[in-house]
Amino acid sequence: MSPIVEVNELRKQYNPPEGVTAVQGVSFAIKQGEIFSLLGPNGAGKSTTISMLSCLLAPTGGDATIDGHSISQEPKQVKQVIGVVPQEIALYGSISAKENLEFWGKMYGLSGEKLKERVTAVLDIAGLTDRANDKVDTFSGGMKRRINIAVGLLHNPKVLFMDEPTVGIDPQSRRRILDTVKELNAQGLTVLYTTHYMEEAEELSDRIGIIDHGKLIAVGTQAELTELVGQFDTVQLEVGETTEANGTLVTDLAALDGVHQADGEGEHVVVQAEDANLVLPRILQTVTEHGRSIRRMEIQEPNLEAVFLHLTGRALRD
C-alpha cells in the first residue's frame, strides 16, 4: 500500500542559528490504514515532529507530504485531511461538549445537517452522548480526553495525529481510548501516535519509530525492533540507597558472566542478560555486596524497553 504520510529529512531548530535543534533530520513513511507510533522519552522530539506535520510549526529543513500535499507549500490542503488530537485538553470548559463539537466542526468547514450528523457520531464514539449538554468543566479527566479525541474526528480525516492522548488519565479511560484507536483504525483510519509508554506502542502499532534527542534511531515492526537486541532478557532493579557511588555497582554488574549490559542511575538499575534466571543469583549477590537492598525486581523478555536501552544506553523512563 502506498504511503499517505512521507517525511523527508524534517528538521526544526528553535531560534536559529544558536537555538536548540529539537528535530534533526527525521525521515519515515506511514502507509494508508497503518498505526505508526513514535516512541521516545519526554523531550525526544515527538511533539515537535507532530506539530510540524500539523502545520503548527514551520520546519527549518526538509519537508513532508500528507495525502500528496506538502506541509510547507500546501498547509491549507494538509489541514483538510488531518485530524489533530493535541497532548493538552484543547477545549472550552465553560461551554458544553456539544457546543464545543459544533464550534470545532464549523472550524473544519462543516455546517447544517452534516455538522449535526458528525457531532452525533463523534459523541457516540466518545461514549458521551448522555453528557452532550453538560459543560466540559464538569467532566472527569478521561471524559475530557475522549471529547478531545472526538474533535479530531469531526471532519472524517484521512490521517489522525494523536500526541500522547493518554497522559494523566485513569486506567479505565486509557483502556477505552486505546480500544477506540484500534476501532477507528479497523475502519481504515491512518494514525500517527506518539507516546512514551512502551506498552501502548506495543499494543497499538503496526510499526514503531524510536526517537531520541531529535533523531529517529530505529523504525520497524515490534518483531523487527526486538531482533535488534537479540534474545536478551531485561532485569530491572530498584535498589536501596547507599553512600557508595552508583557507578561502581553498575560496573560490577556489567562485568558478571552472562550479563550483556548494565546501566542505571540512582535507585534504578537495568541489566540485560542472555538468560535472566541463570544470572539472577549473581546479580543479587553483587547488589548485596555493595550494601544495597533490593526493593523491587522485574524480569522482562525482549521488548521495546530493551531495544531503547540497547540503542541509547538509557532506560526509556529516563
Partner: protein, 419 residues
Amino acid sequence: MKIWTIAWKDTLIRFRDRNALILMLLAPLVLSAIIGSAFGGFISGSDPVPFDAIPVLVVNQDDGEQGAQFLEILTSDDLAELLTVTEMADLASAREQVQLGEARAAILIPDTFSSSVEGGVDVETAVSQIQFYADPGATLTPNIVRGVVTQIVNGFNTAAISVDLTVNQLTEQAPILGPEMANLGTALNSELGSTIGQNQLSLSLNDVSVGEEEESLGDISPFAFFAPSMGILFLMFSMVDGTRSILDEQKGGTLDRLVSTPTSSLEILLGKIGGVFLTGALQFVVFVIASSLLFSLSWGSSPLGLALMVLAVVLAFTSLGAFIAAFAKDANQANIIGSVVTLVFAALGGNFVPAQNFPPFLEQLSKISINRWALDGFSDLTLLGLGLNDVLLEVGVLLGLSVVLIGLALWQFQRRIAR
C-alpha cells in the same frame, strides 16, 4: 463566517461568566449610583437637582461692537437663570476669584474679537479666541458655561459669513447696478454687521431659551457625567481583559488547535478581536439602557450620534486591548500592563475628574488617552445635548487610533502564530 463563529463563541463564553458579568454590567451601574448620589444627585428624572445660576466673570478687552454684543447676550434675561455674570476689568483678578471659588469660570473676550468675527473667521478660530478659565473643583458647570459660549460664538460666526456674502455680491454687481447701489453695499457692510448679526444671535440663543432651558436643566445631573464615565472605565477593564483571552487560548492549547484547522490566522485573530468588540458593544448598550431606566439618564437627542460614539469607543478599547495582548510576553504580563494602562488612562482622560479642570499642560496631555475623547463625545451628547455633527471629531480620532492599534496588533499576533 468563521470570523463570526469565533466571535460569537467568545461572546457566549464571556456572558456565561458570572464574574465577568459583575465587572461588565453590575459594577459600573453600582459605582455610577454611588458617585452620582454622593455629588448631590437624584435618582429620578422627575426630581430635578436644585440648581443655582452659575457665577461667571467676564473680562471684555474688545472695544468693538461684537464684544459688547457678546457681553450683552451673556447678561441677557434669557440666560439669567443659568448664569450670573459679573463684568471685571482685570483678567488676573478674575482668575484669582475663580481660584478662590468665588466664581466657577472666567471668560476673556480678547481685543481682537470684533475684528476677527467681522473678518469672517471660522467657528473654531473664534471659539479659540475666547479664553476660558474654570474652577478646578467644579465638575459640571464649566462644561455648561463652555457650551453656552460655543453657542453664542456659533451665532456670531454665521452672522459674519452672511454679511460677507451679501457685501461681496453687491460689490461684484456694482458696475451693473450703478454707483448708488455700490454705496448701498458699503452702507450695508456696517449695518448688517450689527443688524443681521443680532438676528442670527437671537436665533442661536433660542437653543438655550427659557422653554428648553428648563428641560435642559432637568437633565443636568451628576449622572450625566459619572454614568458615561463609569461605563467607559469598566468597558475598558473588560475590553483589556477580553483581548487577553487570545493569550489564554495560546496557553491552553486551543489557539494551536484553531491553527491546525483549515482556518487562516487572520480569520482567527479577527474572530477573537471581533468577539471582544461584540461583547463590549453589548455591554455598553445594556449599560445605556439600564442607566436610562435606573437613573432616568438621558443619553442625548441623537441616537445616531450615540450609536457612532458607542461603536467608536468600543472599537478603540478593543484595539488597545489587542495591542497590549499582542506585545505582552504572556497573559500575566498583559494583565498587569492592561490594569496599569486602564487606571492611568482613566485618571488622565478625566474619568474621575473632568479633564477640562486639569492644568493646561495636563489637559493637553489627556488627549493621548482614549478615555478623554470618549468622555468628550459622550459629554457633548449627554451634558450639552449636542448632536451627531458635534461628535464627529471624537469618532474620527477614536476610529483613527483603532486602525493604527489593530494594525499593529494583527501584525504582531501573526508573527507570534507563525512559529
